[in-house]
């Protein structure tokens, strides 16, 4: 696992590590010193009220948003380093968005194949085989040649997951991936994520699906107004929340 690009990272050290991360948009400080570690193969869920900085936090991990101070490392590589090779980072970190963000002018198969062919310069034939396998994996056999506009929200989101996986990342980020879906299709997307988690993929999820978080997460982080208020394994977190803000939030949701 060790290579020159990421220093001396070994799988026994955190794969993602945040240390006192601060981030402001103008005068609004969204993250006020967030620190936590994610180990390889771990699934963590970040929950909290709207505007608490969850999405910003997860977007900082693959450098879509730059941070103001503190440090984020992925496999030992500092994300905030101005000399960072973003391509190296993005090969390691896959991201799935709330609004799927598929490329509407490409078919499902082309969406999945595009980045490995263009970015990793891989051979088209082998990418296509992998892409077809991924589309089967997200249970969309037969939809290879459909355009995103011809698929339901849940199907589009699963294509987006397959598209991210095609880059063979080590960490997957999910940013409220079921928030835009209707209740019936939420489940099919959650099943796909659960499969991934069970295969040992390191996952960081921002989610409002408490039942799901409880079921798959190894660790839950509750954020409010830019800080982590409380965290713990799901059983402790959901049943023995100590902080009044957590209790209030859970009381409204559960």
């Amino acid at each position: 696992m060790t290579d020159a690009a990421n220093g001396n990272w070994t799988p026994d050290r955190p794969i993602v590590s945040l240390n006192d991360v601060h981030k402001s948009f103008g005068d609004l400080e969204v993250l006020k010193g967030i620190s936590f570690d994610v180990m390889k193969g771990e699934v963590i869920c970040i929950i909290g009220p709207s505007g608490s900085g969850k999405s910003t936090l997860i977007r900082c991990v693959n450098a879509l948003n730059p941070i103001d101070s503190g440090s984020i490392t992925v496999e030992g590589q500092e994300v905030n380093d101005p000399k960072l090779n973003k391509l190296e980072l993005r090969k390691k970190v896959g991201m799935v968005f709330q609004q799927y963000n598929l490329f509407p002018h490409k078919t499902a198969l082309e969406n999945v194949m595009m980045a490995p062919v263009l970015v990793l310069k891989e051979d088209k034939g082998s990418v296509e085989a992998r892409a077809r396998a991924l589309i089967r994996k997200v249970r969309l056999d037969g939809k290879e040649d459909s355009f995103p506009g011809e698929l339901s929200g849940g199907q589009q989101q699963r294509v987006a997951i397959a598209r991210s996986l095609a880059m063979q990342p080590d960490v997957m980020l999910f940013d409220e991936v079921t928030a835009a879906l209707d209740p019936e299709t939420v489940k099919e997307v959650l099943v796909t994520i659960k499969d991934l988690a069970q295969e040992g993929m390191t996952c960081m999820l921002v989610t409002h699906e408490m039942g799901f978080a409880r079921e798959i997460a190894d660790h839950i982080y509750f954020t409010d107004r830019g800080v982590i208020v409380e965290h713990g394994p799901p059983a402790t977190f959901f049943d023995e929340a100590k902080d009044p803000r957590t209790q209030e939030f859970l009381g409204q949701i559960l």
Binding site: N62, M95, N101, F103, M114, F147
Partner: protein, 254 residues
């Protein structure tokens, strides 16, 4: 067959002096008309291609990080959009043409490096290009930021995202306005008459200056040729627009 048509028009010209289709029965005049059509076609095609390239590059530069680059593009647009194309043609040819180096193919006469056709192409391409920059910019702004983020999170560079994701989508939005502007450009090529570019209008005006009875016939031809030329352009652009429609995306083209 052709001989009898020529005979018919020769008779017509003798019977009725108002309808002297001299460019049909007189081979010398016919050649002038065909030469003129060829120059018009050449001017139209080259200017259309160059102006589209200018538009694409300009729109790309408008998104540049450097403020200087952006102001240069903005200055270019304002200059060419806010002055009449006829004035631009004359300025380029008569003013700038004075300062370009000359060469001497026969060792006797000095010729400027850029001919009047060259100046017409340069000036008309930049004229239409200024509008194309704005047309493409509108298309690019219609592509959601989140789609570009998705491309970025898959490791694509800004250039790759522009070429493979943003442009194909922006193009579809831009096509109707682009269509308009290119039609305008083809029609504006007639103004090259002012700097004696031997395009169709120039040739026809020369013909009816030589043979005043040919005036009506020349006017008729002018309309027929431009209606046909622009008709082909519009037909092609509309077909292109329809072919670019993505199933389930947008409404363009029906």
């Amino acid at each position: 067959m052709w001989d009898s048509i020529q005979d018919f028009f020769r008779d017509l010209a003798e019977r009725d002096a108002a309808w002297n289709f001299i460019y049909i029965y007189d081979n010398k005049e016919l050649e002038r008309v065909l030469d003129g059509m060829w120059v018009t076609l050449e001017l139209a095609v080259v200017c259309v291609v160059c102006s589209v390239v200018i538009g694409l590059v300009g729109a790309w530069l408008q998104g540049a990080r450097s403020r200087i680059v952006r102001s240069v593009v903005q200055g270019y647009i304002q200059f060419f959009r806010n002055t009449p194309p006829l004035v631009q043609l004359m300025f380029f040819y008569f003013a700038l043409g004075q300062f370009t180096p000359t060469f001497s193919p026969d060792g006797y006469l000095q010729q400027p490096i850029i001919s009047n056709i060259g100046w017409a192409i340069i000036s008309l391409s930049f004229f239409a290009g200024a509008f194309n920059v704005e047309i493409f910019r509108a298309g690019i702004e219609a592509v959601p930021q989140s789609t570009q983020e998705a491309a970025e999170s898959l490791g694509m560079s800004r250039f790759q995202a522009y070429v493979y994701v943003v442009l194909p989508l922006a193009f579809r939005v831009s096509l109707p306005s682009l269509n308009n502007n290119l039609v305008n450009l083809v029609k504006t090529t007639t103004q090259a008459l002012a700097i004696a570019v031997p395009e169709l209008l120039y040739q026809l005006v020369s013909i009816y200056n030589d043979y005043s009875t040919a005036q009506n016939a020349c006017m008729v031809l002018m309309f027929v040729v431009y209606i046909t030329l622009v008709g082909f352009l519009v037909f092609g652009m509309n077909r292109w627009e329809r072919r670019m429609v993505i199933p389930g995306y947008g409404g363009g083209g029906g």
